[in-house]
Amino acid sequence: MHELSLCQSVIETLQRESLQHHYQRVKRVRLEIGPFATVDEEALRFAFEVARSETLAEGAELEIIRSEARARCRSCSNSFAITERFDPCPLCASHELELLSGEELRIVDLQVE
């Protein structure tokens, strides 16, 4: 359940940014989560509800964008989408892959007032 500490750092970021961007309330937060970000979406949603209470994001909606994981094969240079870390290259079956994306754990944007 490190999802709670992730959500707490999201809230801390919202608080920090409110000083710079001058807003009082956050209505919606959009996060981008890669399939290999070590995050369980359900746990994250639950943790967000806990973390947002009695903060400037009280009641804020959480929107999650699931990004796609892509890899490049070191053997044949093919690049492709993968669903598991242990997927082989679909062309040459090699596991010598370089991960291009899939570990994203980002705050994309905020709807504020």
Binding site: M1, H2, S5, L6, S9, V10, E12, T13, E17, Q20, H21, H22, Y23, Q24, K27, L31, F36, A37, T38, V39, E84, R85, F86, P88, H95, E96, L97, L99, L105, R106, I107, V108, D109, L110, Q111, V112, E113
Partner: protein
């Protein structure tokens, strides 16, 4: 669109707008980790982050390693546990300096906690620092502590499919220690299959097989430590 400073005069209370942040959620942790890494490298300290599920043998490996390397290499330890300082006491009995971190409900160490532990522990220059993470094969993977290398310990009693069931932690590790080798005769554990799974998830992972209780295979671990330290020194 992103908004800069000085635009607040235009925003009245209740006016909704979109702010583009594009910020890594772990950026704060990564800043703490980077500060730790700088602090450690200035003092030529080699830090290793030890990760495993509960009971794989992290503390047993550490006490044996400290005893074997006594007089050869100064070693200090940061112990992460949710509760108790049992492990810290075991380390202290070997004579090594140790700093306990109790995470309470927290399931992992983070860069901030380790920064504070470094301040109290004050590991000596040129030493080896082991950070025993909270026993957990999932959550600690996401949190950089400022370590030079990640060592994941898997004991043969846990089943050979763990690298593909918990791929994130194996993908981020530099070294896999396959522990409790002495128990192999009593189990159906396919060592080759396990290593193959680990390499599918992480083609660059190095694997050593050992038993922290019988001592079998421990020499290759000590050799890895000494080679890694020499590499770190050359890198200075």
């Amino acid at each position: 669109m992103a908004e800069g400073h000085g635009d607040h005069h235009h925003h009245h209370h209740g006016e909704e707008r979109l702010i583009r942040l594009e910020q890594d959620i772990l950026s704060k942790n990564n800043e703490y980790a980077a500060a730790n890494r700088r602090w450690l490298s200035e003092r030529n300290i080699l830090a290793l982050n030890l990760l495993s599920s509960p009971g794989s043998g992290k503390t047993t490996l550490l006490t044996r390693t400290i005893e074997a390397l006594r007089g050869k290499l100064p070693i200090t330890v940061i112990e992460g546990d949710q509760q108790t300082d049992n492990d810290a006491q075991k380390i202290r009995q070997t004579g090594a300096a140790v700093q306990q971190i109790n995470t309470g409900k927290g399931c992992h160490l983070d860069g901030h906690m380790v920064g504070h532990a470094l301040e109290s522990l004050q590991p000596p220059s040129g030493s080896l620092l082991f950070i025993e993470n909270v026993g957990n094969l999932v959550c600690p993977a996401a949190f950089d502590l400022g370590e030079a290398y990640r060592v994941v310990i898997l004991s043969v009693t846990e089943g050979e499919d763990k690298p593909i069931k918990y791929p994130d932690i194996f993908a981020s590790a530099d070294l896999l220690l396959l522990n409790k080798l002495d128990l192999l005769p009593h189990l159906q554990f396919d060592v080759e299959q396990c290593i193959d799974y680990a390499r599918r998830v992480n083609p660059r992972i190095k694997v050593l097989q050992l038993s922290a209780t019988s001592g079998e295979g421990m020499d290759s671990w000590y050799q890895w430590l000494s080679a890694t330290r020499q590499l770190a020194e050359i890198g200075q």
